[in-house]
């Protein structure tokens, strides 16, 4: 299904980190988690790839192919972004700060 599943810190059952690349992290404002932010995954050319809504604990998660990605968050308290390079399979963690 195409709808974004609920975002949790735990990976879904069946995720194989020896084969899949998973990008996770939190959206933060002044160090506090921001729930309900729209988190957008943009590819190396800045093109939109996917979007999820952060959980109450500020968590987001993407399954991404290797490459350079921008994680951009939009929230009522402001917007922000971080870059991350996915070199291969495994878990990649990046936090995104939005202006408070």
């Amino acid at each position: 299904m195409c709808g974004a599943p609920e975002q949790t810190a735990e990976l879904p059952a069946g995720t194989d980190l020896s084969k899949e690349s998973v990008l996770v992290g939190k959206v933060l404002a002044g160090g506090s988690p921001v729930g309900g932010a729209y988190v957008r995954l943009l590819d190396g050319t800045g093109e939109f790839t996917a979007e999820v809504v952060s959980s109450a604990s500020g968590d987001y998660r993407f399954f991404a192919a290797p490459g350079t990605w921008t994680v951009r968050a939009l929230s009522r308290s402001g917007n922000g972004q971080s870059e991350v390079t996915v070199g291969g399979p495994g878990l990649f963690t990046t936090e995104v700060s939005v202006a408070a």
């Binding site: 709808g3 974004a4 309900g36 995954l41 590819d43 093109e47 996917a50 979007e51 809504v53």
Partner: protein
């Protein structure tokens, strides 16, 4: 069709929440968003459990749609304003679906749930009680719905617009990047398809780009306006978004949505599949 017939702004919506014969409907695959707070007075439609047949892979039939809308308290004379999460994917799908069953007075809230939330507009948890109606649907208008044989025959003759992300188009991924990659069917795309991701038609806040920007986008990507067009994605909701942009906003005349999309095509035996970045207009 034109923009003012098909889209309403968040400002307009806020001023018309109590307008007569106007029903706001939130459409999502996961309706917990609605339950946590929705546009005041809006009813919910569950894309998965209410719009899809629960046994066959198809829509609910005409009688099922009539029963559904009657129970929701939506009448034939009501103007339906659809909105939802995921940049209005499922709302655009529902828009196409309402048109398919002949409901003409339907509009999409520009920006959907995202813009409404980011604007800090009011959300409500109260579930409205609407009295039952006796809704009558028309037979499906298949001039806007494509089926698989028609899609195979369209290779190289009609515009095929694959609106998935480039990695799904090339065959690198089988599902969007925010979902587990659990699909088993083949990856790739329909030969001769253009790859114009749905997201290129939308701004960051989920609103549609202007008509001029949209026209330029599809022209640059090599869409031939003199030909008929079929849009597809993975399960037909992102392509509803592009169908909406082409057919409802730009007024292109013969545009169909292939709701079987890649989950059907990529599992068919004997059909051609292309992998890799494929072709694009503008000579690149």
């Amino acid at each position: 069709m034109s923009r003012q017939d098909a889209l309403v702004s968040a400002d307009w919506a806020e001023q018309n929440l109590d307008a007569p014969n106007t029903v706001f409907v939130e459409v999502d695959e996961d309706t917990t968003a609605y339950d946590g707070g929705h546009i005041p007075g809006a009813v919910k439609l569950d894309w998965k459990t209410e719009l899809q047949d629960q046994v066959r892979r198809d829509f609910v039939d005409k009688a099922g749609f009539e029963k559904l809308l009657s129970a929701k308290g939506i009448g034939n004379d009501d103007t339906v304003i659809l909105y939802g999460g995921n940049n209005n994917w499922f709302a655009a799908y529902a828009y196409w679906y309402f048109k398919l069953y002949g409901h003409q007075a339907v509009k999409l809230l520009d920006g959907g749930r995202k813009k409404w939330e980011l604007d800090g507009r009011k959300l409500d948890t109260e579930v409205p009680q609407r009295s039952q109606t006796s809704y009558t649907a028309k037979e499906q208008d298949t001039s806007i719905r494509a089926f698989r044989d028609e899609v195979v025959n369209a290779i190289g003759t009609k515009n095929l617009v694959d609106v998935r992300s480039p990695d799904e188009f090339s065959g690198k991924l089988l599902a969007p990047a925010h979902l587990p990659q659990e699909q088993a069917q083949r990856g790739g795309h329909i030969p001769s398809a253009l790859n114009v991701p749905w997201s290129k038609a939308a701004n960051e806040d989920g609103t549609f780009k202007s008509d001029d920007e949209l026209r330029k986008l599809y022209e640059e990507q090599g869409l031939d306006s003199s030909r008929s067009t079929i849009a597809y994605c993975r399960i037909g909701e992102r392509s509803s978004h592009t169908w909406f942009a082409l057919h409802e906003l730009l007024g292109e005349s013969d545009v169909k949505n292939y709701d079987g999309s890649w989950t059907e095509y990529g599992s068919l035996i004997g059909v051609p599949i292309e992998t890799g970045p494929g072709q694009s207009g503008s000579g690149s």
